[in-house]
Symmetry: D2
């Protein structure tokens, strides 16, 4: 048996459990798992004391996404994928959003072009569907699906992207016909706009109003509505960035009705609260994302959802802006309103250490469950399996080695994203990814990156069963 490289002695995490064994790599793939593997000429990597995990897949990141006339996203493919790689990932999935008159196919060509040669790890692309004209639904989506873009994201909020219920049903119909996966951002746009106007009329404009104008019922409502439309259309649906127990209960109810629903949460809903948006000065702007972080009780409900298996996916919803830009919005003379704070936080590099530390080290979840919700399930749902997401014979050797005992304090000065702050400044974590492999070659090694070794990859058909 020919092997190029053998990772020896790590605790290897699979869907079944975690145990010490060797991983044999050949031609970029995992060729063998075994006890005391050996092969002539194979490079031996000593990984004793480390944990070998499927490379992180972050299926919810925003990179170089058009964000309105005055704002530029803080990450392009270079910086975003660099930060992702340092954070233990081997694949990320950003969103392609057409601007102006561009068709979705044109937008994809353009977006792939932006990624070309700038990727430090593998990238697969979701399509944002924010128009439902015949070209988009009838031509672009089928063509792009055939070309390996098999997941669609739709929005129920943001004036320039929100779909009506009728449009949502039309997208769901196309997805059903194609077998595509659909992910939905569920917040009620009308209610938010109503509350924002009310707040502004009342002269309340600080960052904390961002959370107060997007209260839990706004998310619960849209979640139930999206799930009802999926029930009517007869398709599975993925609810992204669930922030609280009321929204999660809607998902549980849909499952009890027999619907197939996949659910995602993010580090911000486990560790931050709306109080953070109320920090002195304009600091609160650093925690502005949608849905907003809630309260301690909601955090506990999200943790319960992770522990009990209600959440299939743990993503970052990385959406990086520069605080300097946001703060600028608040200077005298400019319209100093929470409305103008760009919506999103940087999380691509800290997602995995936060969950490892708070989840695995604190005993809330097993290593297998960590791997499932940070990698395997992402690969399944979005058509990257069996190639990605698992340490299994035949899969790409996308592997990350964790030192489970390394304690670090998260600090902007150590991070690699394009944002100029991190919401987790000073947050202490135990466990950190110390090395990784992308398709069998070192990606992260002794704190340095093998640069630009990734690229845009195509997705296969999503696996939309209820997996649990």
């Amino acid at each position: 048996m020919h092997l190029d490289r053998i990772i020896r002695g790590a605790t290897v995490v699979t869907g079944d459990d975690a145990r010490i064994q060797d991983i044999g790599i050949a031609d970029g793939r995992i060729a063998a798992l075994g006890i005391s593997l050996s092969a002539e000429g194979a490079e031996i990597i000593d990984a004793k004391g480390l944990i070998a995990m499927p490379g992180g897949i972050d299926s919810h990141v925003h990179i170089s996404q058009p964000s309105g006339p005055d704002v530029e996203m803080a990450d392009d493919f270079d910086s975003a994928t660099r930060a992702a790689a340092f954070g233990g990932n081997t694949t990320v999935m950003p969103f392609c959003l057409p601007v102006g008159d561009a068709t979705l196919r044109e937008a994809v060509a353009d977006y792939v072009g932006k990624a070309r040669g700038k990727c430090h790890l593998d990238v697969a692309i979701h399509l944002i569907v924010h128009r439902t004209d015949p070209v988009t639904l009838g031509q672009d989506l089928p063509a792009l699906h055939a070309a390996g873009f098999t997941s669609f994201k739709i929005f129920m909020t943001y004036a320039d992207m929100a779909l009506s219920d009728r449009q949502i049903l039309e997208v769901l119909k196309v997805a059903k016909d194609l077998g595509a996966a659909v992910m939905v951002h569920a917040e009620n746009e009308d209610a938010i706009e109503y509350l924002r106007d009310e707040a502004e009329r009342a002269g309340r404009a600080g960052p904390a109003m961002h959370a107060r104008t997007r209260p839990v019922p706004v998310e619960r409502e849209a979640t139930h509505r999206a799930l009802s439309l999926a029930q009517i259309a007869g398709v599975p649906l993925t609810i992204v960035h669930v922030s609280n127990g009321e929204a999660l209960d809607e998902i549980r109810r849909a499952r009890q009705r027999g619907q197939i629903v996949h659910a995602e949460t993010c580090p911000q809903y486990l560790t931050l609260t709306a109080d953070d948006l109320d920090r002195a000065g304009f600091e609160g702007a650093k925690f502005v994302c949608s849905p907003p972080p809630r309260d301690r009780a909601a955090q506990a409900e999200c943790w319960a959802g992770i522990e009990q298996g209600d959440f299939d996916l743990f993503s970052s919803d990385h959406c990086p802006f520069r605080f300097a830009d946001a703060a600028g919005k608040d200077r005298p003379g400019a319209r100093a309103s929470f409305r103008n704070i760009p919506n999103g936080i940087p999380a691509i590099e800290t997602r995995l250490p936060i969950l490892f530390s708070e989840g695995v080290v604190k005993g809330r979840i097993s290593l297998s469950r960590f791997a499932a919700i940070t990698a395997t399930n992402h690969a399944r749902l979005y058509g990257l399996a069996p190639r990605k997401g698992m340490i299994a014979v035949g899969s790409d050797a996308d592997i990350v080695l964790w030192n489970p005992e390394l304690t670090r304090t998260i600090s902007q000065s150590d991070l690699h994203h394009g944002a100029d702050y991190t919401p987790w400044e000073g947050f202490e974590v135990t466990g950190w990814p110390v090395a990784s492999f992308l398709r069998g070659e070192f990606l992260l090694h002794e704190n340095s990156l093998a640069e630009y070794c990734g690229g845009v990859i195509a997705c296969g058909q999503p696996d939309q069963r209820a997996w649990q």
Copy 2:
């Protein structure tokens, strides 16, 4: 790398997914998984077209269990484990029940003695705790736990075994201190006895009354009570043989409260109904088990629980009696009442084919999920992992090969259990286990068994997290 034997070309099922790869076996364990494994001198087993699954673990079977003065269980270790092996299992877990004045330790010694030399596959033993005297709780359980008997079963029904709530709390306390797993048969004894007396007073004595005197609220009540006691004691709990959606809802509610609950269902609740107990003549006696099969709606609720991941375990609750004996109870002169029909049905050999056919072949669940609920989770919960329950490097090579296309009609004439009938007579299934290995050696091969190659094994500490 030394390998004794290579299973080549099967679709190998793990917790992550199912894919074609080779399994290398050495010294009774799985030594490697890989593509084109080879080793000098290794026997090659061609398994192309077959599915390699972790050998079935049936954690809920009754063998040679004392059943009252007039009744003998139809299976001893010889016949039960033979039937289990033919049905695709490699491990079964029966229950040790003390009789008379015997202590639990004496009963275990006696029960292990009955098994010695009579096991065609591996056997691990649960302890039935039906007394809570100081010797049992303070001496026997700790000693037996230390000796590898780490799971306790308690009953809320059956006059001679039912524990009071106080006793249940005391057993839960011991289990908590030891880290033992507790499984509970949840039906309200008092309510059943009340309804039975009422039925008898009304002169209604046919087998159908068995189901009517154990209605759903009787099970729902006891399920909620058991879960409340576990909440008060602060311990995980396993609810066995859940038969309907109302009981399952109690489990869902407990999980939403944050409790760790494992749930089991059985083939009878997916395929039989209370109408079967109403068959002409005394035929209904062949379907008498507790809880009884319910109706079509309850079947659908149980299937939904399997599909949505609410059930962790799929067991047989094999509890074999001879219809000839039961029918004898109905002859003139004898007390001809449903009360005297021994409680239980034979299912040890048909459990896996029924779920494979109705679940996997009909597209309700994936192969990974099949393996999880028929083997892996049993091993996790009852302390047999990582040795048993998975096709993973280092585990015992307990493997079963399925022909997924073989269609058979279940018939008593083909089965190997000691009962003289099967409730699934004439039931057609697609998919059948055609070969198996126990610790690396052929157990089932070309329709014959390698006899008496198993034995009683010790259990380690249960893994009582919420796994999903």
Copy 3:
């Protein structure tokens, strides 16, 4: 004590219970309740064996409402109030809907004009709010509210009337400021239109498609959405014509969250099913209303809601069209689609006997509860109390006398509405209103009507507590 008239010996129904006593009437009001009342010169009406009930208030009827270019509603104020009076009512509440450019105030003036001199009983008017321009919200609604039009109805379906979520919030805000009551027709317009287009594309156009294109999730979704918007706005809300248990569960959940919600159901949801829409030929068109009748299970859920007190209001949703007109839509050459069947059924005359017979006579509800949901609660919610809705000292002497033993078979030939059919043709009921008084004078007597004795009355402030 002066009394004009004494109703003697009836079983008088109040909110507390039903008992035999005399009702003394003076100057159109109830002046006394007592045992053996007497007063010089008073007319004595012998009502022994009869039940004296507060005159029925039907707070959900459509009269002379604009219904699109090709359709005319089958009832004007004359025929509608005549039928209502024969059916045991003393007050009805139709809806004022502006057409074209007319302001709401102009529309009200016009609508009151249509009623003038044509009312056989008292009439109070709800306002349909289907526009949210500044004149409507800022001027018309406050002015009309001050003039005694204190309840607003909004629609989430019907293209020409449906409000967006933003508009709903704006109407709720006005209602909150004024203390007005808001009633909502909750069905998701977008989903219905999507399903209708799909049905038409599939060439399925019969009346039965009306029900199939408005399935339960369409109503459940809109119900939850409306309740969420009310939660966000912080106002009570009334959900009209609830047709099934899933929608009712949304109301129960909102109440458990602490919201004040009033709920209404109608005779069609207790006695008809979607199968009726599937009757041979075009007969199904006679049962087309929105939401549509569901199935037997949904009927049982609605009955449970009545028995358990979940429903506050039982109305007719009388919306009469001529079958001859609807059938015309189906003739060759015309667009023969369920889409063109006018939406609604006649029920104003049969509402009370159906509930009396199916509810009171069959033992499901008490006489007090009957009075509450057919009269008292309507008066409370819509600001007619304490003047209307109760047999109590000081209230208008609006009283109906029931013969609880009279059995009749409902037949179009006996009814007084303008429609040319009744959906309850042949339905047998026990209990019928044999006489009634409006403000102390005979309205219905020996099967004839005191004509045109009613008029348009103003409403006071709604009582929007949770009453139960």
Copy 4:
């Protein structure tokens, strides 16, 4: 029309609403309600500015009840009914409990004897059924039921009274056959005893342990169990003294299943918390009752249940002991444990003012609802209607006049019960009963009582519909 007495100008509260009218009384009954009632020779009582309410019925009080060898209840019929009368009641319902070998019939005779000549208001008696021998079930209950003792109370806790599930079913069966009402104290005795033993072993013995050894799951469990047994038996059931939302949710679930359930709560669950049991020294003993007061969240859940109509009954659960006695249990040398604190608090005189002030004055409930849950529903459920519980023609003139603006601070020094403290010392209330009539005669007048004017009355058949 002959009238003995006319109460003039009060706001009279009925089930429909509250309005100013006169009440005419003749021969102890309400003979007329009317505007400006007059009758020759009638005494006129000017009640302008006051509220006339049906006299309070407290259907859950303990008087002279045997309480174990060392403890004497602090109230006999004299003191209890005196305090009740001063608190605005006209009827109370204590419990008859047999002691020793006495049969239930003997106990009733004895208990009626204790009441004879000592009652300041009317008294109706519930039967405690704590034995299920053939004499009790087959002879005593039917005989006593026929004699007007038509409601049974059963206990699931307290070693000397708790029934097994089998016994509960047997009592429910008798109640079903007779049409008797059954009220249940729902706490799981075994779990409580287990937790008490644990607490004592841990050396934790202060009054606060009373609440900690009766946690919410103990009550939720027993509530669900009792309701399941009632479902199996097919009878209505009343759950008394519900203390929290989890138990109330069990009641809501049972109602959604179609069961008829009546629910009661008490002032302690609306105003006290478990923290009160933790007061310095032994003061906490003053708040020991079962179930114990919970936390602020549970209070809010109970208030929501009152506002939303989930509770039918508001009673005191008056169970008076002398703190001096309880405190004695804590002196050195005696067993100083929470176990020995007599279980119960005095509330008979403060029940109505607390609910009036916190409920009516604070706008949570209407006057009609106040009357319903403090008087009318008690009369309905326990067979005292139509004679008691309503201001309606033909009923006993049991009327209480409230001054809604009188503000008082509750103080032991002003109260009339036999206990030597009140848990509400210093609690300020607005609204106080200033006069009352029992069967038409002054009972309470200018702060003095017409003594010994009441007696033991018989109950009719309970009205066990779902009333709302």
